[in-house]
Amino acid sequence: MNTIPVRVTGDLSALPGSASGAKHVVWWGNFGFMLIEGMAFLLAGACYLYLIGRSPSWPPPGDALPDLTWSSIFTAALVASQAPNLWLLRESKRKREKPVRWLALAMTGIGIGLVALRAVELGHLNVRWDHDAYGSVVWMLMVLHTSHIATELGETGVQTVWLFTHEIGDDQYSDVEDDSNYWSFVVLAWLPIYLLVYWVPRWV
């Protein structure tokens, strides 16, 4: 016999077919990837601090400081985007179809705006990546974060198209929740990078 004897002690068929928040298994997958990328941000930040210690001054002699205007506008806009994002999170938890669709569309528009702002911001770093190690590490932090904004924009855009064209099930509300949490991660990850790239050279 290739089976073992069993005795049935319970029935699982009455359980729900989905869940939200940290009860959902996908929430943990999302969290796992945030942990990976958070670690990459942390290590990239550590590289920045390490290189400060290797240089007689920071930025190195002859390098101009990065401009504050566009980066601060970008930062303010990014932080402000949390308002509609958290609203979207709340509506997805309530499983309300109409506001979820429109808020996802709004977040896509906001994402496009932020990518445009970021493009302008990159033009005001005042150093090229191939100029010296300072330029290299500044660009590394910026490229890392920009890739997250762009990826998140792509994801939200695709999700928005799907939300408008399909009936939304419980698992898809969870997906919206995960996307919204991920955006919060992208916003939170930016704040220390903003301080490192724009303020630390002014303080050290």
């Binding site: 016999m1 290739n2 089976t3 073992i4 004897p5 069993v6 005795r7 049935v8 002690t9 319970g10 029935d11 699982l12 068929s13 009455a14 359980l15 729900p16 077919g17 989905s18 869940a19 940290a22 009860k23 959902h24 298994v25 996908v26 943990w28 997958g29 796992g32 990837f33 942990l35 990976i36 990328e37 670690m39 990459a40 290590l43 990239a44 590289c47 390490y50 290189l51 290797r54 190195p60 179809e97 990546w129 191939d130 010296d132 190690a133 300072y134 330029g135 290299s136 660009w139 590394m140 792509g154 695709v158 799907w162 408008f164 064209t165 399909h166 009936e167 939304i168 698992d171 898809q172």
Partner: protein, 629 residues
Amino acid sequence: MTNEQKAELTRTWADPPGLWGFLTTVDHKRIAARYICSTIALLFLAGMLALDMRLQLSQPGMQRMDPQEYNEAFSLHGSTMLFLVSVPVMEAMALWLVPLMLGQRNVAFPRLSAFSYWLYLGGVLMLWVPHALNITPDLGWFEYPPLSGPAYSPGHRADIWAQMITFTEVAALAASVNIVATILKMRPPGMTLARMPLFLWAMLIASLMTILALPSVMLVTSMLISDRLVATHFFAPAGGGDVLLFQHLFWFFGHPEVYIIFVPAIGFVSAIVEVFARRPMFGYRAMVLSMVAIGVLAFGLWVHHMFAVGLPRIGNAFYTAASMAIAFPAGIQIFCWIATLWSGRPRFDTPLLWIVAFLVTFVVGGLSGVMAAAAPLDLQLTDTYFIVAHFHYVLVGGAMFPLFGAFCFWYPKATGRLMSEAWGKLAFWLIAGGFNLGFFPMHLLGLMGMPRRVYTYPAELGWGTLNLVATIGSAIAVLGGVVFVVNALVSLRRGKPAGPDPWGGATLEWAAPSPPPQHNFDWMPVETSLAPMWDAKDGLAVMEGLATGSREVLVTSLVEAEPEYRQHSVGPSIWPLVSGLAVSALFVGSIFTPWALVWGALPVGAALTLWFWPTRPRATAGPFARRSG
């Protein structure tokens, strides 16, 4: 469950037939099996390279390899063993075993495991296809700048090594997230964290370590590629960069990596010791806590790989202490295993023999590790054959021997047949004996001053005899490896039928038929103790109610494993493979032009969109609703 329901369950979880089924499967067992077979093939290739190097060193002044060929051989051997064999094979074992040990039908993210394998395969091809074209990386398994920088390594050898790492690390990270989510959220009812088999603890801790350590190596190899491709200055002192930054980042990954390989082995050893000692593990809590301690301490040791680079002395003292400290949790584990065997009724079948060999070899490797952890001694020993002996003792003895034991232990579960004990024991004595004969003399050679990575040596130095002994030992071990593989292949057809539980196993995988059907279990087991199979005298407690007509798995709470909901589990899909191909194109392209990151992202985005596009009815409300009539 009625026979009709069983038939429906089988149909629901069946892969499509033929090649399409092969390319689209999301069955964790099929994916893990191809992972394991690939690693065995690469272990064979890396073993051949090792034998080739040993032949070259068997006598002084040999000229059958020139220095360049020798550099390529040890670079390919080390890179293959670390990145393409040791880490992936542990993850593959987890992908295969974790759902079975949890009584589940699949992992948390089935398509992610398929994607992980395809990217791993991309990494294999990234290293070995260029080798076939004579563009082999030649700077060792850690390619330090400035030697690997644009000034000293023109061409693409260094890029190939760096990008192979990106492939394999993305694959490993995908597998690790999958394993963590599966263990945390898909434990069977009753399997609280305090009642989780040690193997699952080991895989959880190793996967979390992977998640925290691997970003470092991906970052550092990306920085190296960017120094080489777009003239950044991370590691160029003339531009304000620092070559030691590479070493810090590499070893911040590299040291935990050793434990990412070793901690799963702790899981194998614990599982095998328990079953063959025929008693529950001695010191379960001490084992769990020492694994956690190893997981934490492993991140505080990396500088002991850099004692010779001239760091401040206080730093060396701190890392010496930290490196020695990790011997405590490792020692606790050794004593727990010995106590379990001592107080049990051990049965010395092949799997347990491997564990005995592990205990002896790993203790030797651990002791030479404590020696090398002392900075003053390390300054004398670093870059000598003593270090080569040390890391082979801990990696082969500490991880490969338990792996071979695990292979023999779970082989009947995977195939339905037992491997031959007689041939298994012969392979064991050849490998364990040959290994010790091959590597023990290297301690002495190192103490005599023989540096590692030399392609030959003059006769006057007096290293010839010990080198010849080392070569003979290695050849015996390779012969043992051949016997091991042939035994596995022959037993596929000729082995004795195993039944579901040939060893009297303790954990839930032994409740599934051997080999398990695609859906693993007809029902959901309930964990009643740490050894549910031993306590199931009136039948194993199970729950019914998961769907038979659609793919469903049970999701439970984080700590107490209370049932929470039934999760739809996705079926076969071609998109993980297509996504893997798109990502591969991006990775390969980006060693030639940075624009590959931009243009390559478009097919990746398209493939991922199709992968994740949910299949649900069209909207009936809103501006894009399907209008009827």
